[in-house]
Symmetry: C2
């Protein structure tokens, strides 16, 4: 492993430069305007994987954006680790809040990252974390230190719900056969407190449209007599949560796993300062479901958030329009054992039921994913524990995350394989926000830790 450390040291600057080149390609999967850039990002990745020494590297078209696949089989008797990640990124809006261009990466020092962080859309989520794997693999190959077989499957649609990955997995079951799936798309508690994600929330994402009259009207002539879809939609959204911030959709909580008192106690013992949290977000008060702490609200409890809403005149100045339509994008984060399809239907039925007769309502489901919880006593998990302990010199803490990687439940269902969520980001890295960044410490720590995972996993499997 000393040899690897030397190699990393020697190629450190190149690792970073290559990542920055990749970050310059705006691979925004949600917006059709970026379709060509998404393909360009896939081609960039393919080239680097081939150069690192991977075999059979291919760009696999789907109905949406392509999936990059490659493998290195050194001995069929050895275990196989499949690395999953994504090269697509969230849209960069709102652009005016970025301090530097979202696709013009720069390295700047911050309080949390005194050694510097790369600022760009996708720096942490997930190009930066995928690139740690590319470089860790390169180092293992160049130093003849690869202890097992590896496969890489990096997709381009994670930010839009991985809509075509299930079909790809089903069609390529044999090719994708493996013993464990390793994913770096999550966070650690802080740079001195490593952690491994043992739970992810699921998701349901819908778009709603409320229509009043058949056209925009003058609010003086018709105001007060014809339903205003913005007022109506506001009221409908308000109805979805009660005074205690509980979600009012009938049946919504029916399948929610009850977490034991003991587990909740352990969870709340993780290092966390509510004052630092509020200070960092510049808020006077947190806001959430009654009788749960902030750590619980963002991990073991389901949520409902409007991610976008619009209607009427949103330009400068005043326009007295009574709009014909109002829209909202609404997501619900789900916890074990909620089923996204069932929740989507409960939402849709309830939402239509609360609409007054003066409007028409349309609900369009976008995408969803199942929540997951991974055991901490498996070989997969233990290998991650040992790898992080090796590089951080500290035991990592198992932790449930509030985010969703719908694909984890899918892998279990289609490939029958468990995933390990060994990510290196920080919650404060502003993923999905303006000024997303990724610490250089975290980038290099990931590259250092990954080969230890391969090592320990292979060792533990031998026993």
């Amino acid at each position: 492993m000393q040899q690897l450390a030397n190699y990393h040291k020697e190629h450190k600057d190149r690792y970073l430069e290559e990542l920055m080149d990749w970050l310059r390609i705006p691979s925004v999967s949600a917006d059709p305007a970026f379709k060509k850039d998404v393909v360009k990002a896939a081609e960039f990745l393919k080239k680097k994987l081939v150069k690192a020494g991977l075999d059979n590297v291919s760009i696999n078209p789907t109905k949406g954006h392509p999936i990059v696949y490659g493998e290195k089989i050194i001995d069929k008797k050895l275990p196989t680790v499949l690395v999953y990640g994504h090269y697509d990124v969230q849209p960069p809006d709102p652009l005016d809040l970025w301090e530097s261009g979202p696709f013009e990466p720069v390295v700047k020092k911050t309080k949390k990252h005194p050694k510097g962080a790369i600022f760009a859309r996708g720096a942490c989520d997930d190009k930066g974390q995928v690139y740690m794997h590319v470089k860790a693999f390169e180092a293992m190959m160049k130093n003849k230190a690869l202890p097992c077989n590896v496969k890489y499957m990096i997709e381009g649609e994670e930010e839009v719900g991985s809509v075509n990955l299930e079909a790809f997995c089903k069609k390529n079951k044999k090719k994708l056969a493996c013993d464990v799936i390793l994913i770096s798309d999550t966070s650690i508690i802080d740079n001195k407190t490593p952690s491994i994600t043992t739970g992810l929330r699921g998701m349901t994402y819908v778009e709603v449209e409320v229509t009043g009259a058949n056209r925009d009207l003058h609010s003086g002539v018709y105001g007060g007599a014809v339903a205003n879809p913005i007022n109506v939609l506001s009221k409908m959204i308000a109805t979805l949560q009660d005074k205690k911030n509980k979600i009012t959709i009938p049946g919504f909580y029916d399948d929610v796993e009850v977490v034991s008192r003991k587990e909740r106690k352990a969870m709340n013992e993780a290092p966390f300062s509510i004052n630092a949290y509020k200070r960092e977000l510049k808020i006077k008060e947190v806001h959430g479901e009654d009788k749960y702490t902030t750590l619980e609200r963002t991990s073991i409890r389901p949520t409902l958030d409007v991610n976008g809403m619009w209607g009427g005149y949103i330009g400068e100045g005043a326009k007295t329009v009574l709009p014909s339509k109002a829209f909202a994008k609404i997501s619900m984060r789900l916890v074990p054992n909620q089923d996204p399809d069932k929740i989507t239907k409960l939402f849709s039925d309830y939402f239509k039921s609360i609409a007054p007769p003066s409007v028409r309502v349309k609900v369009t489901p976008h995408h969803g994913g199942h929540p997951v919880v991974t055991p901490t006593n498996s070989i997969e998990y233990k290998a991650a524990h040992l790898a992080m302990k090796e590089t951080f010199k500290k035991d990592p803490i198992p932790q449930r995350s509030g985010g969703s990687i719908p694909i984890v439940a899918l892998f279990e269902k289609v490939l029958g394989v468990k995933s390990v969520l060994m990510g290196f980001g920080l919650n404060t890295d502003d993923i999905h926000s303006p000024n997303e960044h990724y610490g250089l410490f975290n980038f290099y720590k990931g590259i250092e830790t990954i080969p230890f995972y391969f090592h320990y996993y292979t060792e533990l499997k031998k026993k």
Copy 2:
């Protein structure tokens, strides 16, 4: 008057062509991008007024858009009519709902306008109606039929609250001295049922901003624990009206004039079909304040409408963002004797009071105006009645309108002069909406009627 009729007949097509040329100039006052076009529209008007025979025509700069003024004093002993109107127009958004370009006027036949209507932004509100006055004046001049003194004051900021007109009136009190102000910026019931507007609602228009965290956040990582400004704003807006669609702002109804049972009965006897109304708007049900009819809701009752709302991700596809900010533009139509400044303050205080401690709220007033009611037994009103009776062969019905022309109350306060609201549009002309239009019947009927107003007003004043 036969001479005038012949002149109109001869110049009919030119009248229309000139109006269409004027409509091609996008004089959108709300959007700074159109500043030059607003000036261009003023210059066009000046040229036409000079050509029609008006004296001392000037373009008067203000802090915003200029005011066009001109006069013809034939005899100081005769009464003076001041014509007020506006050459600015509403923004054309949403552009994709226009069947032809908003600034590319075309004449098309419709059900309500079997003889054709001009489709363009400003066709009815108010360029088309102002141009009737320009052409009526031209005809009177060319046929030596002007019976009194006239003044014209046509402004460029009506759609943004006439913010600089008060200062102009105060500064030019002597120049603007007159006996009555004639305004064509309202509607008739239908082309067989003339009516004169005897009341206008006032207005308060505010923009609100709700801020949660200091930046956009990932809804997985923070969702459920940090206030979502869209959810919060929705709830706050929902709070502004109760189940009976009464506005909940404390004190809001305190000064509302109570209209007598008798007046309400008369009002509800105007020709109106609720089924035709619903069919025309393609709605199943109307929606408004409990215990009032549609005609009452749009005339004698105050309202609260969200004219625009936005926040979070509003592009294509799905983005799981927990936004930092959400915004809404909210207008309230006021009735006698509500005071716009008082209502703005009541709104602002209440809105801030219902915000949870997890967000910050900013309220910015845009513009306002006082409600007005004009008497039906005055000479000003009687002249309009006789003029319309002459050309429609039917008694016009006095009617309160739901819209606002804030300037009417201002004229009374600053110049001490009453206004007469003799407009020729239809409520179905889609003013402020895509596909705004103005019937050719209405345009020509206005040109025909206006000289009768001057005639009868002068006659009645002599008595």
